[in-house]
Amino acid sequence: MPLIDPTVVDLSRLQFALTALYHFLFVPLTLGMTMILAAMETTYVITGKQVYKDMTQFWGKLFGINFAIGVATGLTMEFEFGTNWSMFSHFVGDVFGTPLAIEGLMAFFMESTFIGLMFFGWDRLSKPAHLAITYLVALASNLSALWILIANGFMQDPKGASFNPDTMRMQFNSFVQLVFSPDAQAKFVHTSIAGFVTGAMFVMGVSAYYLLTNRHKEFAARSIRMAAVFGLISTLAVVTLGDALGRLDDLLQPTKIAAIEGLWHTTTSPAAPWLVAALPDDKTQSNVFEIGVPYVLTPLITHTFDKSIPGLIDLEGAAGPKILNGIKAIDALQQYSTTHDAASLATFKQYEDDMGYGFLAQQNAPNQDLNAITPAEMPAVVQQTELDTVPNVFVTFWAFRIMMFLGFYFIALFAFMAYFSLKNQLENNRFLLKLCMISIPAPILACEFGWITAEAGRQPWSVYGWLPTFQAASSHNVGYMVFSLIGFALLYSLFIAAELYLMFKYARLGPQSHDHAAPVAGTGALPMFAKPGFAAKSWE
Protein backbone atom coordinates (compact mmCIF):
# COMPACT_ATOMS: atom_id res chain seq x y z
CA MET A 1 0.00 0.00 0.00
CA PRO A 2 1.67 3.22 -1.07
CA LEU A 3 1.84 6.02 1.47
CA ILE A 4 0.43 9.44 0.78
CA ASP A 5 2.60 11.90 -1.12
CA PRO A 6 4.70 13.69 1.54
CA THR A 7 4.02 17.04 -0.12
CA VAL A 8 0.29 16.48 0.33
CA VAL A 9 0.84 15.51 3.98
CA ASP A 10 2.91 18.65 4.56
CA LEU A 11 0.36 20.87 2.83
CA SER A 12 -2.46 19.23 4.81
CA ARG A 13 -0.56 19.86 8.03
CA LEU A 14 0.16 23.42 7.00
CA GLN A 15 -3.49 24.03 6.21
CA PHE A 16 -4.71 22.48 9.44
CA ALA A 17 -2.16 24.32 11.53
CA LEU A 18 -2.93 27.66 9.89
CA THR A 19 -6.70 27.30 10.13
CA ALA A 20 -6.51 26.01 13.71
CA LEU A 21 -4.14 28.76 14.82
CA TYR A 22 -6.37 31.29 13.12
CA HIS A 23 -9.48 29.89 14.78
CA PHE A 24 -7.65 29.92 18.08
CA LEU A 25 -7.01 33.65 17.75
CA PHE A 26 -10.69 34.20 18.53
CA VAL A 27 -11.60 31.31 20.82
CA PRO A 28 -9.79 32.36 24.02
CA LEU A 29 -11.36 35.81 23.90
CA THR A 30 -14.79 34.20 23.57
CA LEU A 31 -14.17 31.89 26.53
CA GLY A 32 -13.05 34.75 28.73
CA MET A 33 -15.32 37.58 27.56
CA THR A 34 -18.50 35.58 28.15
CA MET A 35 -17.45 35.03 31.76
CA ILE A 36 -16.46 38.67 32.25
CA LEU A 37 -19.76 39.80 30.75
CA ALA A 38 -21.52 37.51 33.22
CA ALA A 39 -19.56 39.06 36.08
CA MET A 40 -20.35 42.60 34.90
CA GLU A 41 -24.03 41.87 34.50
CA THR A 42 -24.10 40.29 37.94
CA THR A 43 -22.71 43.52 39.35
CA TYR A 44 -25.41 45.39 37.43
CA VAL A 45 -28.14 43.25 38.95
CA ILE A 46 -26.66 43.53 42.45
CA THR A 47 -25.92 47.26 42.48
CA GLY A 48 -28.62 48.33 40.03
CA LYS A 49 -26.23 50.92 38.55
CA GLN A 50 -26.72 51.68 34.86
CA VAL A 51 -22.98 51.91 34.21
CA TYR A 52 -22.62 48.15 34.67
CA LYS A 53 -25.35 47.51 32.13
CA ASP A 54 -23.52 49.83 29.74
CA MET A 55 -20.34 47.93 30.43
CA THR A 56 -22.03 44.63 29.68
CA GLN A 57 -23.47 45.99 26.46
CA PHE A 58 -20.34 47.75 25.24
CA TRP A 59 -17.96 44.88 25.94
CA GLY A 60 -20.65 42.61 24.56
CA LYS A 61 -20.52 44.49 21.29
CA LEU A 62 -16.75 44.06 20.97
CA PHE A 63 -17.19 40.43 21.98
CA GLY A 64 -19.74 40.01 19.17
CA ILE A 65 -17.28 41.25 16.54
CA ASN A 66 -14.85 38.62 17.74
CA PHE A 67 -17.42 35.88 18.20
CA ALA A 68 -18.71 35.96 14.61
CA ILE A 69 -15.33 35.18 13.16
CA GLY A 70 -14.74 32.49 15.80
CA VAL A 71 -17.93 30.74 14.73
CA ALA A 72 -17.07 31.05 11.06
CA THR A 73 -13.59 29.63 11.42
CA GLY A 74 -14.87 26.91 13.75
CA LEU A 75 -16.93 25.58 10.86
CA THR A 76 -13.68 24.99 9.01
CA MET A 77 -12.32 22.89 11.85
CA GLU A 78 -15.40 20.68 11.93
CA PHE A 79 -15.02 20.03 8.20
CA GLU A 80 -11.30 19.57 8.04
CA PHE A 81 -11.07 16.27 9.89
CA GLY A 82 -13.14 14.82 7.07
CA THR A 83 -11.77 16.78 4.15
CA ASN A 84 -8.07 16.46 4.95
CA TRP A 85 -7.64 13.74 7.57
CA SER A 86 -9.72 10.97 6.14
CA MET A 87 -7.66 8.13 7.58
CA PHE A 88 -7.64 9.81 10.99
CA SER A 89 -11.42 10.20 10.87
CA HIS A 90 -11.85 6.59 9.88
CA PHE A 91 -9.32 5.33 12.41
CA VAL A 92 -10.62 7.16 15.49
CA GLY A 93 -13.99 8.60 14.39
CA ASP A 94 -15.81 6.08 16.55
CA VAL A 95 -14.38 7.64 19.68
CA PHE A 96 -13.10 11.05 18.52
CA GLY A 97 -16.31 12.07 16.74
CA THR A 98 -18.45 11.44 19.80
CA PRO A 99 -17.23 14.37 21.91
CA LEU A 100 -17.57 16.62 18.86
CA ALA A 101 -21.18 15.54 18.38
CA ILE A 102 -21.91 15.95 22.09
CA GLU A 103 -20.34 19.39 21.93
CA GLY A 104 -22.94 20.34 19.34
CA LEU A 105 -25.80 18.85 21.33
CA MET A 106 -24.86 20.03 24.78
CA ALA A 107 -22.94 23.24 24.32
CA PHE A 108 -22.93 24.86 20.91
CA PHE A 109 -26.70 24.79 20.49
CA MET A 110 -27.13 26.42 23.86
CA GLU A 111 -24.47 29.06 23.23
CA SER A 112 -25.74 29.99 19.77
CA THR A 113 -29.42 30.10 20.65
CA PHE A 114 -28.94 32.13 23.80
CA ILE A 115 -26.40 34.51 22.30
CA GLY A 116 -29.20 35.78 20.06
CA LEU A 117 -31.31 36.45 23.15
CA MET A 118 -28.34 37.97 24.95
CA PHE A 119 -27.85 40.59 22.24
CA PHE A 120 -31.48 41.15 21.26
CA GLY A 121 -33.42 40.31 24.39
CA TRP A 122 -32.51 43.25 26.67
CA ASP A 123 -35.97 44.77 26.38
CA ARG A 124 -37.89 41.55 26.20
CA LEU A 125 -36.56 39.78 29.28
CA SER A 126 -36.58 40.59 32.98
CA LYS A 127 -33.26 41.45 34.64
CA PRO A 128 -32.74 38.04 36.28
CA ALA A 129 -33.85 36.21 33.14
CA HIS A 130 -31.34 38.11 31.02
CA LEU A 131 -28.63 37.49 33.61
CA ALA A 132 -29.44 33.78 33.51
CA ILE A 133 -29.12 33.86 29.71
CA THR A 134 -25.70 35.52 29.95
CA TYR A 135 -24.54 32.86 32.40
CA LEU A 136 -25.83 30.13 30.10
CA VAL A 137 -23.86 31.60 27.19
CA ALA A 138 -20.71 31.72 29.34
CA LEU A 139 -21.23 28.18 30.58
CA ALA A 140 -22.00 26.90 27.09
CA SER A 141 -18.96 28.46 25.45
CA ASN A 142 -16.76 26.81 28.08
CA LEU A 143 -18.61 23.51 27.78
CA SER A 144 -17.79 23.68 24.08
CA ALA A 145 -14.15 23.96 24.98
CA LEU A 146 -14.56 21.04 27.38
CA TRP A 147 -15.75 18.61 24.70
CA ILE A 148 -13.24 19.80 22.12
CA LEU A 149 -10.43 19.31 24.61
CA ILE A 150 -11.73 15.88 25.59
CA ALA A 151 -11.35 15.03 21.90
CA ASN A 152 -7.90 16.59 21.85
CA GLY A 153 -7.03 14.77 25.07
CA PHE A 154 -7.74 11.53 23.25
CA MET A 155 -5.16 12.43 20.60
CA GLN A 156 -2.58 13.13 23.31
CA ASP A 157 -3.33 10.11 25.46
CA PRO A 158 -5.78 7.66 23.85
CA LYS A 159 -7.98 6.49 26.72
CA GLY A 160 -11.38 4.83 26.45
CA ALA A 161 -10.89 2.99 23.16
CA SER A 162 -9.17 -0.10 21.83
CA PHE A 163 -8.13 -1.22 18.36
CA ASN A 164 -10.44 -3.64 16.56
CA PRO A 165 -8.65 -5.65 13.83
CA ASP A 166 -11.96 -6.52 12.16
CA THR A 167 -12.94 -2.93 11.52
CA MET A 168 -9.37 -1.59 11.32
CA ARG A 169 -10.06 1.25 13.69
CA MET A 170 -10.07 2.28 17.35
CA GLN A 171 -13.42 1.51 18.91
CA PHE A 172 -14.96 3.32 21.83
CA ASN A 173 -15.18 1.21 24.98
CA SER A 174 -15.26 3.47 28.00
CA PHE A 175 -17.09 6.76 28.19
CA VAL A 176 -15.87 7.41 31.73
CA GLN A 177 -12.23 6.92 30.77
CA LEU A 178 -12.58 9.20 27.76
CA VAL A 179 -14.27 12.04 29.64
CA PHE A 180 -12.22 11.81 32.81
CA SER A 181 -8.89 11.29 31.09
CA PRO A 182 -6.38 13.25 33.21
CA ASP A 183 -4.94 14.92 30.11
CA ALA A 184 -8.38 16.13 28.98
CA GLN A 185 -9.14 17.44 32.47
CA ALA A 186 -5.97 19.42 32.96
CA LYS A 187 -6.05 20.64 29.38
CA PHE A 188 -9.60 21.91 29.64
CA VAL A 189 -9.02 23.86 32.83
CA HIS A 190 -5.72 25.26 31.54
CA THR A 191 -7.23 26.35 28.20
CA SER A 192 -10.49 27.67 29.55
CA ILE A 193 -8.80 29.80 32.18
CA ALA A 194 -6.18 30.96 29.69
CA GLY A 195 -9.23 32.30 27.87
CA PHE A 196 -10.26 34.16 31.03
CA VAL A 197 -6.82 35.78 31.10
CA THR A 198 -7.18 36.81 27.45
CA GLY A 199 -10.58 38.36 28.10
CA ALA A 200 -9.37 40.20 31.19
CA MET A 201 -6.36 41.62 29.35
CA PHE A 202 -8.56 42.78 26.50
CA VAL A 203 -10.95 44.64 28.79
CA MET A 204 -8.07 46.08 30.80
CA GLY A 205 -6.10 47.17 27.76
CA VAL A 206 -8.95 48.94 26.00
CA SER A 207 -9.99 50.61 29.27
CA ALA A 208 -6.41 51.75 29.82
CA TYR A 209 -6.63 53.47 26.44
CA TYR A 210 -9.67 55.45 27.66
CA LEU A 211 -7.88 56.50 30.82
CA LEU A 212 -4.85 57.57 28.80
CA THR A 213 -7.00 59.67 26.48
CA ASN A 214 -9.12 61.04 29.34
CA ARG A 215 -12.37 59.60 28.04
CA HIS A 216 -15.08 57.50 29.71
CA LYS A 217 -13.02 57.54 32.87
CA GLU A 218 -15.65 56.26 35.28
CA PHE A 219 -16.54 53.51 32.86
CA ALA A 220 -12.91 52.55 32.33
CA ALA A 221 -11.98 52.61 36.02
CA ARG A 222 -14.75 50.16 36.84
CA SER A 223 -13.88 47.93 33.92
CA ILE A 224 -10.24 47.84 34.95
CA ARG A 225 -11.15 47.04 38.55
CA MET A 226 -13.18 44.01 37.54
CA ALA A 227 -10.82 42.86 34.81
CA ALA A 228 -7.66 43.17 36.92
CA VAL A 229 -9.10 41.13 39.79
CA PHE A 230 -10.56 38.61 37.36
CA GLY A 231 -7.29 38.36 35.43
CA LEU A 232 -5.01 38.07 38.44
CA ILE A 233 -6.77 35.03 39.92
CA SER A 234 -7.12 33.47 36.48
CA THR A 235 -3.43 33.82 35.64
CA LEU A 236 -2.45 32.19 38.92
CA ALA A 237 -4.80 29.31 38.09
CA VAL A 238 -3.37 28.98 34.58
CA VAL A 239 0.16 28.65 35.89
CA THR A 240 -0.91 26.02 38.42
CA LEU A 241 -2.61 24.02 35.71
CA GLY A 242 0.36 24.41 33.40
CA ASP A 243 2.46 22.76 36.08
CA ALA A 244 -0.10 19.94 36.37
CA LEU A 245 -0.01 19.42 32.60
CA GLY A 246 3.78 19.21 32.67
CA ARG A 247 3.60 16.57 35.38
CA LEU A 248 1.09 14.60 33.26
CA ASP A 249 3.23 14.84 30.15
CA ASP A 250 6.12 13.44 32.15
CA LEU A 251 3.98 10.38 32.86
CA LEU A 252 2.16 10.05 29.53
CA GLN A 253 4.18 11.74 26.80
CA PRO A 254 7.85 11.56 27.80
CA THR A 255 9.02 12.63 24.33
CA LYS A 256 6.99 15.82 24.60
CA ILE A 257 8.33 16.81 28.00
CA ALA A 258 11.91 16.06 26.96
CA ALA A 259 11.44 18.23 23.87
CA ILE A 260 9.88 21.03 25.92
CA GLU A 261 12.88 21.02 28.24
CA GLY A 262 15.46 20.53 25.49
CA LEU A 263 16.61 17.42 27.31
CA TRP A 264 18.71 15.13 25.11
CA HIS A 265 20.22 12.92 27.84
CA THR A 266 18.46 11.37 30.81
CA THR A 267 19.05 13.34 34.02
CA THR A 268 21.41 11.66 36.43
CA SER A 269 21.21 13.91 39.48
CA PRO A 270 18.66 16.31 41.01
CA ALA A 271 21.08 19.10 40.15
CA ALA A 272 20.08 18.90 36.48
CA PRO A 273 19.55 22.46 35.24
CA TRP A 274 16.27 23.89 34.01
CA LEU A 275 17.12 25.67 30.78
CA VAL A 276 16.10 29.30 30.65
CA ALA A 277 17.37 29.57 27.11
CA ALA A 278 19.07 27.22 24.68
CA LEU A 279 19.57 26.62 21.00
CA PRO A 280 18.51 23.01 20.38
CA ASP A 281 19.81 21.52 17.13
CA ASP A 282 17.61 18.67 15.89
CA LYS A 283 20.24 17.50 13.34
CA THR A 284 23.05 16.86 15.77
CA GLN A 285 20.71 16.06 18.68
CA SER A 286 22.34 18.47 21.09
CA ASN A 287 22.04 22.02 22.38
CA VAL A 288 24.41 24.46 20.70
CA PHE A 289 24.40 26.58 23.85
CA GLU A 290 22.34 26.57 27.02
CA ILE A 291 21.77 28.72 30.10
CA GLY A 292 20.24 26.85 32.99
CA VAL A 293 19.35 27.06 36.65
CA PRO A 294 20.41 23.95 38.58
CA TYR A 295 18.11 22.06 40.97
CA VAL A 296 14.94 23.34 39.28
CA LEU A 297 14.16 20.78 36.58
CA THR A 298 13.72 17.65 38.69
CA PRO A 299 11.29 19.03 41.27
CA LEU A 300 9.47 21.00 38.56
CA ILE A 301 8.72 17.99 36.37
CA THR A 302 8.60 15.04 38.73
CA HIS A 303 7.52 16.86 41.90
CA THR A 304 10.26 14.88 43.71
CA PHE A 305 13.99 15.33 44.32
CA ASP A 306 15.23 11.91 43.26
CA LYS A 307 13.45 10.69 40.10
CA SER A 308 15.25 11.00 36.79
CA ILE A 309 13.74 12.41 33.61
CA PRO A 310 14.37 10.47 30.40
CA GLY A 311 16.19 12.35 27.65
CA LEU A 312 15.35 12.21 23.96
CA ILE A 313 18.33 10.14 22.83
CA ASP A 314 17.54 7.50 25.43
CA LEU A 315 13.86 7.60 24.54
CA GLU A 316 14.78 6.97 20.89
CA GLY A 317 16.82 3.97 21.92
CA ALA A 318 13.96 2.65 24.03
CA ALA A 319 11.69 2.82 20.98
CA GLY A 320 13.82 0.25 19.10
CA PRO A 321 12.14 -2.90 20.48
CA LYS A 322 8.73 -1.28 20.04
CA ILE A 323 9.50 -0.67 16.37
CA LEU A 324 10.48 -4.30 15.83
CA ASN A 325 7.27 -5.44 17.54
CA GLY A 326 5.24 -2.90 15.63
CA ILE A 327 6.51 -4.17 12.29
CA LYS A 328 5.48 -7.69 13.29
CA ALA A 329 2.07 -6.40 14.37
CA ILE A 330 1.41 -4.61 11.08
CA ASP A 331 2.57 -7.58 9.01
CA ALA A 332 0.22 -9.84 10.96
CA LEU A 333 -2.60 -7.33 10.64
CA GLN A 334 -2.21 -7.09 6.88
CA GLN A 335 -2.23 -10.86 6.67
CA TYR A 336 -5.35 -10.99 8.85
CA SER A 337 -7.15 -8.40 6.74
CA THR A 338 -7.25 -10.81 3.79
CA THR A 339 -7.29 -14.27 5.42
CA HIS A 340 -9.08 -13.61 8.74
CA ASP A 341 -7.18 -16.58 10.19
CA ALA A 342 -6.68 -17.23 13.89
CA ALA A 343 -2.89 -17.57 13.68
CA SER A 344 -2.19 -14.08 12.32
CA LEU A 345 -4.75 -12.64 14.72
CA ALA A 346 -2.88 -14.24 17.61
CA THR A 347 0.42 -12.82 16.34
CA PHE A 348 -1.16 -9.40 15.98
CA LYS A 349 -2.65 -9.51 19.49
CA GLN A 350 0.80 -10.32 20.87
CA TYR A 351 2.35 -7.14 19.43
CA GLU A 352 -0.80 -4.98 19.27
CA ASP A 353 0.35 -2.36 21.78
CA ASP A 354 3.24 -1.35 19.53
CA MET A 355 1.37 -1.34 16.20
CA GLY A 356 1.70 2.43 15.87
CA TYR A 357 5.47 2.06 15.69
CA GLY A 358 4.98 -0.37 12.82
CA PHE A 359 2.98 2.26 10.93
CA LEU A 360 5.73 4.74 11.71
CA ALA A 361 8.38 2.44 10.22
CA GLN A 362 6.57 2.29 6.87
CA GLN A 363 8.11 5.51 5.61
CA ASN A 364 11.59 4.05 6.05
CA ALA A 365 10.90 0.62 4.55
CA PRO A 366 12.00 -0.12 0.96
CA ASN A 367 9.08 0.83 -1.33
CA GLN A 368 7.25 1.75 1.87
CA ASP A 369 6.39 -1.92 2.24
CA LEU A 370 7.12 -3.51 5.60
CA ASN A 371 6.96 -7.00 4.07
CA ALA A 372 9.85 -6.13 1.79
CA ILE A 373 12.35 -5.46 4.60
CA THR A 374 15.11 -8.05 4.50
CA PRO A 375 16.73 -9.12 7.81
CA ALA A 376 19.88 -7.32 6.67
CA GLU A 377 18.01 -4.06 6.18
CA MET A 378 16.10 -4.29 9.45
CA PRO A 379 18.63 -2.57 11.76
CA ALA A 380 18.87 0.39 9.40
CA VAL A 381 15.09 0.71 9.19
CA VAL A 382 14.75 0.53 12.97
CA GLN A 383 17.51 3.07 13.50
CA GLN A 384 15.96 5.45 11.00
CA THR A 385 12.54 5.06 12.63
CA GLU A 386 13.94 5.65 16.11
CA LEU A 387 14.96 9.13 14.99
CA ASP A 388 11.41 9.71 13.77
CA THR A 389 9.86 9.06 17.18
CA VAL A 390 10.72 12.46 18.65
CA PRO A 391 9.20 15.86 17.91
CA ASN A 392 11.01 18.93 16.65
CA VAL A 393 12.84 20.13 19.73
CA PHE A 394 13.59 23.69 18.67
CA VAL A 395 9.92 24.52 18.02
CA THR A 396 8.59 22.77 21.12
CA PHE A 397 11.29 24.22 23.38
CA TRP A 398 10.77 27.82 22.34
CA ALA A 399 6.98 27.73 21.92
CA PHE A 400 6.78 26.54 25.52
CA ARG A 401 9.18 29.16 26.80
CA ILE A 402 7.47 32.08 25.12
CA MET A 403 4.14 30.95 26.56
CA MET A 404 5.58 30.52 30.03
CA PHE A 405 7.50 33.79 30.18
CA LEU A 406 4.37 35.62 29.02
CA GLY A 407 2.38 33.88 31.76
CA PHE A 408 4.65 35.22 34.49
CA TYR A 409 4.59 38.66 32.90
CA PHE A 410 0.77 38.62 33.09
CA ILE A 411 0.83 37.80 36.79
CA ALA A 412 2.98 40.86 37.43
CA LEU A 413 0.91 43.14 35.21
CA PHE A 414 -2.44 42.09 36.68
CA ALA A 415 -1.07 42.31 40.21
CA PHE A 416 0.15 45.89 39.70
CA MET A 417 -3.08 46.91 38.01
CA ALA A 418 -5.22 45.36 40.75
CA TYR A 419 -3.12 47.10 43.38
CA PHE A 420 -3.31 50.54 41.80
CA SER A 421 -6.98 50.11 41.03
CA LEU A 422 -7.68 49.37 44.70
CA LYS A 423 -5.59 52.39 45.67
CA ASN A 424 -7.42 54.44 43.06
CA GLN A 425 -4.09 55.60 41.59
CA LEU A 426 -4.41 54.27 38.07
CA GLU A 427 -4.19 57.58 36.28
CA ASN A 428 -0.81 58.40 37.83
CA ASN A 429 0.73 55.30 36.27
CA ARG A 430 0.69 56.15 32.62
CA PHE A 431 3.52 53.76 31.87
CA LEU A 432 1.55 50.84 33.32
CA LEU A 433 -1.53 51.87 31.36
CA LYS A 434 0.48 51.99 28.15
CA LEU A 435 1.88 48.56 28.96
CA CYS A 436 -1.67 47.23 29.37
CA MET A 437 -2.65 48.66 26.01
CA ILE A 438 0.17 47.06 24.08
CA SER A 439 -0.29 43.80 26.01
CA ILE A 440 -3.78 43.16 24.59
CA PRO A 441 -2.54 40.66 21.98
CA ALA A 442 -0.03 39.02 24.33
CA PRO A 443 -2.37 36.47 25.95
CA ILE A 444 -3.64 35.49 22.51
CA LEU A 445 -0.03 34.96 21.49
CA ALA A 446 0.57 32.89 24.64
CA CYS A 447 -2.48 30.74 23.81
CA GLU A 448 -1.19 30.17 20.28
CA PHE A 449 2.22 29.13 21.56
CA GLY A 450 0.55 26.86 24.07
CA TRP A 451 -1.29 25.18 21.24
CA ILE A 452 1.96 24.83 19.30
CA THR A 453 3.68 23.30 22.34
CA ALA A 454 0.91 20.76 22.79
CA GLU A 455 0.51 19.77 19.15
CA ALA A 456 4.07 20.08 17.86
CA GLY A 457 5.18 18.16 20.94
CA ARG A 458 2.74 15.37 20.02
CA GLN A 459 4.50 14.71 16.71
CA PRO A 460 5.17 12.39 14.94
CA TRP A 461 1.80 11.09 16.07
CA SER A 462 -1.68 12.29 15.30
CA VAL A 463 -2.95 9.81 17.90
CA TYR A 464 -0.12 9.36 20.37
CA GLY A 465 1.47 5.96 19.94
CA TRP A 466 -1.16 4.66 17.51
CA LEU A 467 -1.40 6.62 14.28
CA PRO A 468 1.48 8.60 12.70
CA THR A 469 0.53 11.97 11.27
CA PHE A 470 1.76 11.12 7.77
CA GLN A 471 -0.65 8.23 7.62
CA ALA A 472 -3.65 10.17 8.90
CA ALA A 473 -4.03 12.45 5.89
CA SER A 474 -6.39 12.18 2.92
CA SER A 475 -4.92 10.98 -0.36
CA HIS A 476 -5.49 14.19 -2.31
CA ASN A 477 -3.37 15.51 -5.11
CA VAL A 478 -1.26 18.61 -4.68
CA GLY A 479 -3.56 20.70 -6.86
CA TYR A 480 -6.51 20.28 -4.48
CA MET A 481 -4.38 21.39 -1.58
CA VAL A 482 -3.05 24.44 -3.41
CA PHE A 483 -6.60 25.42 -4.31
CA SER A 484 -7.87 25.22 -0.74
CA LEU A 485 -4.78 26.85 0.75
CA ILE A 486 -4.99 29.85 -1.54
CA GLY A 487 -8.70 30.16 -0.85
CA PHE A 488 -8.20 30.08 2.91
CA ALA A 489 -5.35 32.54 2.74
CA LEU A 490 -7.44 35.03 0.75
CA LEU A 491 -10.64 34.70 2.75
CA TYR A 492 -8.98 34.67 6.13
CA SER A 493 -6.85 37.71 5.30
CA LEU A 494 -9.97 39.63 4.33
CA PHE A 495 -11.70 38.52 7.51
CA ILE A 496 -8.91 39.57 9.81
CA ALA A 497 -8.62 42.92 8.06
CA ALA A 498 -12.34 43.54 8.50
CA GLU A 499 -12.35 42.36 12.11
CA LEU A 500 -9.37 44.50 13.13
CA TYR A 501 -10.84 47.50 11.36
CA LEU A 502 -14.11 47.12 13.25
CA MET A 503 -12.44 46.34 16.56
CA PHE A 504 -10.34 49.48 16.37
CA LYS A 505 -13.26 51.56 15.16
CA TYR A 506 -15.59 50.50 17.97
CA ALA A 507 -12.93 50.47 20.67
CA ARG A 508 -11.93 54.04 19.68
CA LEU A 509 -15.53 55.14 19.56
CA GLY A 510 -15.99 53.93 23.12
CA PRO A 511 -19.09 53.12 25.09
CA GLN A 512 -21.33 56.03 24.24
CA SER A 513 -21.27 55.14 20.56
CA HIS A 514 -24.28 52.95 21.02
CA ASP A 515 -25.81 54.75 23.96
CA HIS A 516 -26.97 57.93 22.35
CA ALA A 517 -29.30 56.03 20.08
CA ALA A 518 -30.75 53.72 22.70
CA PRO A 519 -34.42 54.57 22.64
CA VAL A 520 -35.63 52.29 25.39
CA ALA A 521 -33.41 52.16 28.43
CA GLY A 522 -34.73 55.51 29.55
CA THR A 523 -32.19 56.17 32.26
CA GLY A 524 -30.95 59.41 30.90
CA ALA A 525 -27.49 58.71 32.22
CA LEU A 526 -25.99 58.20 28.83
CA PRO A 527 -24.46 61.34 27.39
CA MET A 528 -22.78 62.02 30.70
CA PHE A 529 -19.86 59.78 30.05
CA ALA A 530 -18.32 62.74 28.37
CA LYS A 531 -18.36 64.58 31.69
CA PRO A 532 -16.91 62.18 34.19
CA GLY A 533 -17.26 64.51 37.15
CA PHE A 534 -20.97 64.60 36.65
CA ALA A 535 -21.32 60.98 35.78
CA ALA A 536 -20.74 59.48 39.19
CA LYS A 537 -23.69 61.37 40.52
CA SER A 538 -26.13 60.30 37.89
CA TRP A 539 -25.59 56.66 38.70
CA GLU A 540 -26.61 57.05 42.31
Binding site: M40, Y52, Q185, V189, F230, A237, L422, N424
Partner: protein, 63 residues
Protein backbone atom coordinates in the same frame (compact mmCIF):
# COMPACT_ATOMS: atom_id res chain seq x y z
CA UNK B 1 -47.28 27.37 48.88
CA UNK B 2 -44.90 29.85 47.28
CA UNK B 3 -42.34 29.30 50.00
CA UNK B 4 -42.73 25.57 49.57
CA UNK B 5 -42.03 25.68 45.79
CA UNK B 6 -39.10 27.95 46.41
CA UNK B 7 -37.81 25.50 49.01
CA UNK B 8 -38.37 22.60 46.62
CA UNK B 9 -36.54 24.40 43.83
CA UNK B 10 -33.58 25.17 46.03
CA UNK B 11 -33.55 21.57 47.25
CA UNK B 12 -33.31 20.36 43.66
CA UNK B 13 -30.46 22.79 42.94
CA UNK B 14 -28.71 21.61 46.08
CA UNK B 15 -29.15 17.97 45.09
CA UNK B 16 -27.70 18.61 41.63
CA UNK B 17 -24.81 20.52 43.18
CA UNK B 18 -24.04 17.69 45.61
CA UNK B 19 -24.24 14.98 42.94
CA UNK B 20 -22.06 17.07 40.63
CA UNK B 21 -19.56 17.73 43.41
CA UNK B 22 -19.37 14.08 44.45
CA UNK B 23 -19.10 12.79 40.86
CA UNK B 24 -16.59 15.41 39.79
CA UNK B 25 -14.68 15.16 43.05
CA UNK B 26 -14.30 11.41 42.62
CA UNK B 27 -13.54 11.11 38.93
CA UNK B 28 -12.58 14.56 37.75
CA UNK B 29 -10.75 16.58 40.39
CA UNK B 30 -9.70 19.19 37.87
CA UNK B 31 -13.24 19.59 36.55
CA UNK B 32 -14.34 20.12 40.12
CA UNK B 33 -11.59 22.67 40.56
CA UNK B 34 -12.80 24.48 37.47
CA UNK B 35 -16.37 24.66 38.73
CA UNK B 36 -15.33 25.99 42.11
CA UNK B 37 -12.56 28.18 40.73
CA UNK B 38 -14.61 29.84 38.01
CA UNK B 39 -17.41 30.61 40.44
CA UNK B 40 -14.85 32.10 42.76
CA UNK B 41 -13.18 34.16 40.03
CA UNK B 42 -16.51 35.64 38.98
CA UNK B 43 -17.65 36.34 42.53
CA UNK B 44 -14.39 38.02 43.49
CA UNK B 45 -14.49 40.15 40.35
CA UNK B 46 -18.05 41.16 41.23
CA UNK B 47 -16.91 41.93 44.76
CA UNK B 48 -14.19 44.11 43.24
CA UNK B 49 -16.87 46.05 41.37
CA UNK B 50 -19.06 46.44 44.44
CA UNK B 51 -16.04 47.55 46.47
CA UNK B 52 -15.37 50.22 43.84
CA UNK B 53 -18.80 51.72 44.46
CA UNK B 54 -18.29 51.63 48.21
CA UNK B 55 -14.90 53.33 47.88
CA UNK B 56 -16.45 55.99 45.68
CA UNK B 57 -19.15 56.65 48.24
CA UNK B 58 -16.73 56.90 51.17
CA UNK B 59 -14.53 59.20 49.14
CA UNK B 60 -17.45 61.48 48.42
CA UNK B 61 -18.57 61.54 52.03
CA UNK B 62 -15.03 62.31 53.15
CA UNK B 63 -14.56 65.20 50.75
Amino acid sequence: MKTFTKFLGLAVVLLIAIVLAVLCGDYGPWYFAWLVGTTMIILIAVAGGVLFETQLETQKKGS
